[in-house]
Amino acid sequence: MSDAPIIRVQGLHKSFGKLEVLRGLSFEVKRGEVLAIIGPSGSGKSTLLRCLNFLEEYQAGEVRFDDELVGYRRTAAGKLKLDSENTVRRIRARMGMVFQSFNLFPHKTVLENVMEGPLVVQRVSRNEAELRGRTLLQRVGLIDKIGAYPPQLSGGQQQRAAIARALAMQPDAMLFDEPTSALDPELVGEVLEVMQSLAAEGMTMVVVTHEMGFARQVADRVMVMDRGEIIELAPPAQVFGAPESPRTAEFLRRVLH
């Protein structure tokens, strides 16, 4: 049961109008696994991540989370129909998402940001939400910023608050879309540290990243994407040491100089 993959993607196709962005991807993510996704700009990494929690609709194939089809349901006739908002929301609530641009709610304090999901979506008591919020903010080193508004924080602090906000929902998996790409170089480390400790605790993570160090040291497997396809999916030692595809080798040569 716990050996079953928590995320299962099969033949996933996604287009924006005529532009085909994902061309039939299939892969699985096991419970507790850390999957890093790398690849050139425009290869579809963000789009893939957004399909996993149905922030984007997809045109063909399947995304399954914990065996449940994400975003669609099968009718008696076997056709796919858009699922109800409530079902989609229930699945989304089980996946935390962290964005490149943080997307904290600027009109709420750091603590209110972190309490928002538990309060509004899970309807836990205010005490419970605040307890979760304080515990998580302590953990990401922001306990002294609890009453601050997001625009008053550094990028690194904002991203750590955003991670705490996602964790407050006690998700079964976390999706990260280039969480450190908008940060000044000296602030990258503090965010990666939080992510590394999450991974060490056994959190299932899918991380789109340009940080090759993180992919190499923390990820269990690395997926390389190019033009909407998976061109490599293997443990980091193999991807970085002996890539199968010449396109992977070419991409790595460029990013690692």
Binding site: R92, M97, V121, R165, A166
Partner: protein
Amino acid sequence: MDYIWQWNQIWDYRQVFVRGMQVTVILTCWALLIGLALGLLLGLMRSSRLMVLRIPAAVYIDIFRATPILVQLVWIYYALPILSGVQMGNIASASVGIGLHAAAYIAEIFRAGIASIDRGQSDAAKSLGMGYGQAMRRIILPQAIRRMVPPFINEFATLMKLTTLGSVLAVNELLHEAENLINNTYRPLETYTVVAVLFGLMIYPFIWLSQRLEQRWKARG
């Protein structure tokens, strides 16, 4: 420049101005209420992903913005009773007419305010599992409303000035009262001056408030 201003006669008739202002305020309040409620609804429909909601809202907004309000008012007063059998009083007709007109503009203010909020905000709300209504109420609207305040106050000032069109439906608002007064006193210059000053006094506080709010919100970021 040998015009001799005569204010004492105007002062004698001050009750007329007070009466007119009362009607103007009543007209403004009703029109504003209708404009806000319908405007919010239309603005949300206009921002919807569903065509069945978006298209009717767009048609309404375009029609009311593309035709003169004077025609709309007269049409509602004379044509609506014939078509629907509903006969409204003068003040009600004017309130509804100005309200329906303002709704089109207020809808655009709501739509633009909602559209100005970064998509990342609704992405973040959705990724927590919030529904459309929750995300709107708790995340998008509270931020959008700050950006709507200046154009909204602007529209409010416009609306209050538009109530003077009530005079064509024989509503005794400030301007209409003033015109009646001129027929007795033959002091148009003084009377219109007072009308202008009174409108200025009613509208300016809101403009001032809007500027203060804008400054305060800018300061907090």
